[in-house]
């Protein structure tokens, strides 16, 4: 194993020599490619949310989970609308029910109720 490694290192030493003698245009293009990569990284860094602390953390979390958070917000809005609608329509039903009871005539069975009959006499 050690012998293999020594042999490999000797090969690599020769390969290193080849990198010293690259054509000038290749070296120039590599330098330019590196410069472009550095600019690309600077742009990537600047796109990340600025500012420290909680807001930056929340901002990056939102960016990472944008789809699932949007879906959750939509579901919450639908549920909220449903609950509010139920509340409003239920309240209306109650008022209508009371008015109906007060306005309608008593059914004949009501006079058969002794409790109601005694109450009516006291009135």
């Amino acid at each position: 194993m050690n012998h293999e490694r020594q042999f490999a290192k000797e090969i690599v030493r020769r390969l290193d020599e080849t990198t010293e003698n690259l054509a000038p245009e290749v070296v120039e293009r590599l330098v330019e490619a590196r410069r472009q990569a550095v600019l690309r990284m600077a742009a990537a860094h600047s796109q990340q949310p600025q500012g420290g602390g909680l807001m930056a953390l929340l901002g990056s979390y939102f960016l990472q989970h944008q789809r699932s958070l949007s879906l959750a917000a939509l579901i919450a809005a639908v549920l909220f609308t449903f609950v509010v609608t139920q509340q409003l329509t239920g309240h209306g039903h109650g008022e209508h029910g009371d008015a109906f009871l007060l306005a309608s005539e008593l059914p004949p069975e009501a006079y058969l109720d002794p409790g109601f009959y005694s109450w009516l006499k006291q009135q």
Binding site: H3, E4, R5, Q6, F7, A8, K9, E10, I11, V12, R13, R14, L15, E17, T18, T19, N21, L22, V26, V27, R29, L30, A33, R34, Q36, A37, V38, R40, M41, A42, A44, H45, Q48
Partner: protein
């Protein structure tokens, strides 16, 4: 998170080896240059938030994937070339590659015999590396030229550590056999202090 200066230093350290490594694989300097540039840009753009310690493994992984994309495109282009040549449209393609033809000949100022021999040795070593099976070449270069450890090489290649060791061992033996065929193995091994 790596800084732009750290990225620049890292790329300056590996760019020449990356270019040679890619050129061995694709056998085309212009394509190799494009692939290395693509890999550099992808690393900078996609992994700007990663620590610089992860860059050697990440860069190798990106480089291998970019090479695979290149070969995929070449395969499609090859299908069209075959179709066109079958229709009688001539296409110049130098598939046959003789390592001695690519030997640098424009640096022979002060041209001693020793320099010629060194160039010849390097040309044969490079040809032997180019002729290694892809996985063996990847493992050999990452492990010994990039000096990555077995675990990092395995992560970059997407295989087990055992496979990396096997690929490396086979690559070394294949290189030794090729050099021996050209009569260079003894010289290289003597320098390595071995007694093969």
């Amino acid at each position: 998170m790596a800084s732009t200066q750290e990225l620049s230093n890292f790329l300056a350290q590996i760019e020449r080896r990356a270019f040679k490594q890619t050129a061995y694989a694709v056998r085309d300097d212009h394509a190799a240059m494009d692939i290395v540039q693509d890999a550099m840009l992808k690393l900078a753009e996609k992994y700007a938030a990663r620590p610089v310690e992860e860059y050697p493994m990440l860069f190798q992984r990106i480089l291998q994937n970019t090479m695979k994309d290149y070969w995929r495109r070449q395969k499609v282009r090859g299908i069209w070339t075959t179709l066109l040549s079958s229709l009688g449209v001539s296409q110049h393609d130098d598939e046959e590659h003789d390592p001695l033809e690519t030997m640098a000949s424009d640096h022979d100022h002060g041209n001693p015999e020793l320099q010629y021999e060194q160039q010849e040795t390097i040309a044969i070593i490079e040809a032997a590396i180019k002729n290694l099976p892809t996985r063996q070449r990847e493992a050999f270069i990452m492990r010994y030229w990039e000096d990555m450890d077995v675990a990092e090489t395995a992560a970059a290649m997407g295989c087990s550590e055992g496979s990396v060791k096997t690929h490396c061992s086979r690559a070394v033996h294949a290189l030794a056999a090729t050099l021996e065929k050209y009569g260079f193995a003894k010289e290289v091994l003597d320098r390595a202090g071995g007694e093969r």
